[in-house]
């Protein structure tokens, strides 16, 4: 079971879903906060959902206020770095580039991709945490090999 958990985590890193920030979070986890990483992750997804919503609405309005969109995305990017969501972060960067170029089409496309990555990550992490909890506390603290 624990091995399974370890493998899942390793694959998340290998596939580029997560970067070393996630490991940093794991280091922070201790007896005082035994579920720290999971809590942070939950917080991230909750907050990022809100941000995605904001951007969705802004895009739907069709006015394409690039400055505003860029600002939202800046926020989103900052947030995504908090748990090491590297694929999501990459999409953020792309989006901002399109914003700066004033490319509405590019923005829309990238945003769809971003939402996809975001959703994928969330599912994977939920799965991971679930297993980790079942496997026992030790697993979450272990570094992937």
């Amino acid at each position: 079971m624990q091995r399974q958990v370890a493998l899942i985590k390793q694959s998340l890193f290998d596939q580029g879903y997560l970067d070393e920030q996630f490991m940093e979070l794991e280091e922070l986890q201790d007896d005082a906060n035994p579920n720290f990483v999971e809590e942070v992750s939950a917080l991230y997804f909750k907050d990022s959902a809100r941000l995605i919503n904001n951007i969705d609405q802004a895009l739907e309005r069709g006015s394409f206020d690039f400055n505003r969109l860029d600002s939202y995305m800046h926020q989103f990017k900052g947030s995504s770095t908090s748990i090491g969501a590297s694929k999501v972060k990459a999409e953020c960067t792309k989006f901002r580039e399109y914003c700066r170029a004033g490319n509405a089409e590019g923005c829309l496309r990238t945003f769809q991709q971003l939402k996809k990555e975001h959703s994928t990550l969330r599912k994977k992490l939920e799965h991971y945490f679930q297993l980790a909890r079942q496997a026992g506390p030790k697993e979450t603290a272990r570094r992937p090999k």
């Binding site: 917080l43 907050d47 947030s79």
Partner: protein, 526 residues
């Protein structure tokens, strides 16, 4: 003391970030550093908290992008109103943003994702700021500061039965000096040739006039002052940092009046070294020790008017004889010499007479950098004199010292009035480099350099030779902690860029290249 692991327990940090995830993470990280953390999701809320308990926090860490208020604005408010060190954070590391942070007075600029090691060293900013405050406010007036730093000082630095507060300050000064030196042992990080605003006499007069015009200086904001001053090339930031210093100067004046260790506003400088020490301590401990020039000159001169010189007096190592006559000079001045340039600048009307009788002092060095119309001839006279008689004329000391003093006031550096000791990294401080310096500089600058030479020969990579021996304990401590400062160079944060801006007591010891620049342009900058 462990190497690289030191972080003061209980450092009170206020974290401001609109991102709840980061707020949670930072809180955890800071708690792991054993700091006392307060989190805040809104800039306005943060300001409210800070204003409510003016002395309730040691350092503020804030994100740059926040919905209710620009992080830079918060930075400015905190810097001006509370003079707390502020660290900016962002996921965006664009140079322009970082520069903006610097201009607004940030102590550091961290990139997200932030690492533990970066947070572990934030206490150094607090220490640095405290030391600056001490120097600014001078001597006995410094009662405040964080508990932790006081406790720490007492535990590590105090020794000897001298005036405790002065002792502590001097040691703080040394500590910071060491801190900065260690920081800047990386030559690439030393010396920046950024253009700096030189607050000349005229400029300062304009500033003061503007402030007075506005009325109560508390209501005077940098923008208003800037508008009134009508100096096209001056920026609001320049004025803001200058204003901050000016306010500090004013508060110092207040405290000086309350000083008990001095009689009648004259920094009593009897013949005893202790007094001299107190005197220099009164001035601005940092400066005093820095300006060994005072010390060196002291040797030769009997009538050293400069309290600065007194700094060296207490240091047996430098073998400097602190002339007890500092008293003389002081009397003539109002405010006392010990005050940095502010003092010498503001009561200009009083100064000239005194100057004539006591040529050098502040005015002299000041003049050399920024020749004042009324003093220009004087400067011309004294300068050569100084050059030749380096060790002799009584006023030489003050020159070195005064240049430093004046600099303090005149050089508002981005609200980060730390000394560019870094320019003199430990290896650079070797006699050899000092020789280089000497060849490039003139007069007082040379004097200042020479002063540095002395301590250097005594202590390797230590500028504190002129300082109290009793400080040695602290020195050892620093040697340990110094190692952790290596983190600075490896840290990707903005901090490693700081050195050029770091002023020790607003004095600046430029590297050879800058030296002539400094002499020409007068000192620093912002």
């Amino acid at each position: 003391m462990e190497k690289g692991g030191f972080s003061p327990v209980g450092l009170r940090v206020l974290v401001v970030d609109d991102d709840p995830t980061w707020l949670k993470i930072l809180e955890k990280m800071l708690k792991k550093c054993s700091y006392e953390v307060t989190t805040c999701g809104l800039a306005r809320e943060a300001l409210r908290l800070l204003r409510e308990r003016k002395d309730g926090y040691d350092i503020v860490i804030s994100d740059v992008n926040m919905p209710d208020m620009d992080g830079f604005k918060l930075l400015e408010h905190v810097g001006l109103e509370l003079d707390l060190p502020v660290i900016m954070m962002s996921v965006d590391g664009e140079t322009s943003r970082v520069m903006k942070g610097v201009q607004h007075g940030a102590c550091d600029y961290l990139l997200k994702p932030i690492r533990m090691k970066e947070l572990k060293i934030i206490w150094q900013h607090v220490l640095r700021k405290k030391l600056q405050e001490v120097r600014d406010i001078e001597g006995c007036g410094y009662e405040g500061g964080t508990d932790w730093i006081t406790r720490y000082d007492e535990a590590h630095f105090l020794g000897g039965g001298e005036d405790v507060s002065f002792c502590k300050k001097r040691k703080d000064f040394d500590f910071e000096k060491k801190l900065l030196l260690q920081d800047e042992s990386d030559p690439s990080s030393s010396s920046s040739k950024k253009a700096r605003v030189v607050w000349s006499f005229e400029l300062h007069q304009k500033f003061v006039n503007a402030v007075n015009q506005i009325g109560c200086d508390h209501k005077a904001g940098p923008k208003k002052i800037l508008d009134l001053m009508n100096v096209p090339w001056l920026t609001r930031e320049n004025v803001a940092s200058h204003l901050q210093k000016y306010r500090l100067y004013l508060s110092r004046l207040e405290k000086e009046k309350e000083l008990k260790c001095y009689s009648g506003g004259v920094k009593s400088i009897d013949s005893s070294p202790k007094d001299a020490e107190v005197n220099s301590g009164h001035q601005s401990p940092g400066k005093s020790s820095f300006v060994f020039s005072g010390g060196i000159f002291q040797k030769a001169t009997e009538t050293d008017p400069k309290p600065l010189a007194s700094a060296s007096l207490s240091d047996p190592n430098t073998d400097v004889i602190m002339p007890p006559k500092t008293k003389k000079t002081r009397i003539g001045f109002d405010p006392p010499i010990s005050s940095p340039a502010f003092d010498s600048l503001l009561p200009w009307n009083d100064v000239p007479e005194v100057l004539e009788s006591k040529p050098v002092l502040y005015e002299n060095s000041f003049l050399q950098q920024q020749p004042l119309p009324s003093q220009s001839s004087y400067v011309a006279n004294s300068a050569p004199a100084i050059m030749e008689e380096e060790m002799k004329p009584p006023y030489e000391t003050p020159v070195g010292g005064s240049s430093v003093n004046i600099d303090e006031f005149l050089m508002p550096q981005d609200k980060i009035p730390t000394v560019t000791i870094q320019d003199l990294d430990p290896s650079a401080l070797s006699s050899m480099k000092l020789q280089e310096f000497s060849s490039n500089v003139t007069n007082n600058t040379e004097a200042i350099l020479r002063s540095w030479e002395l301590p250097e020969s005594n202590h390797s990579a230590s500028l504190d030779t002129d300082l109290d021996l009793s400080w040695l304990q602290g020195e050892r401590f620093l040697a340990n902690t110094g190692l952790q400062f290596q983190d600075y160079s490896s840290s990707p944060s903005f901090l490693s860029e700081l050195p050029p801006h770091l002023w020790y007591g607003n004095e600046r010891l430029p590297d050879p290249d800058e030296y002539s620049f400094m002499v020409d342009q007068g000192l620093f900058i912002s």
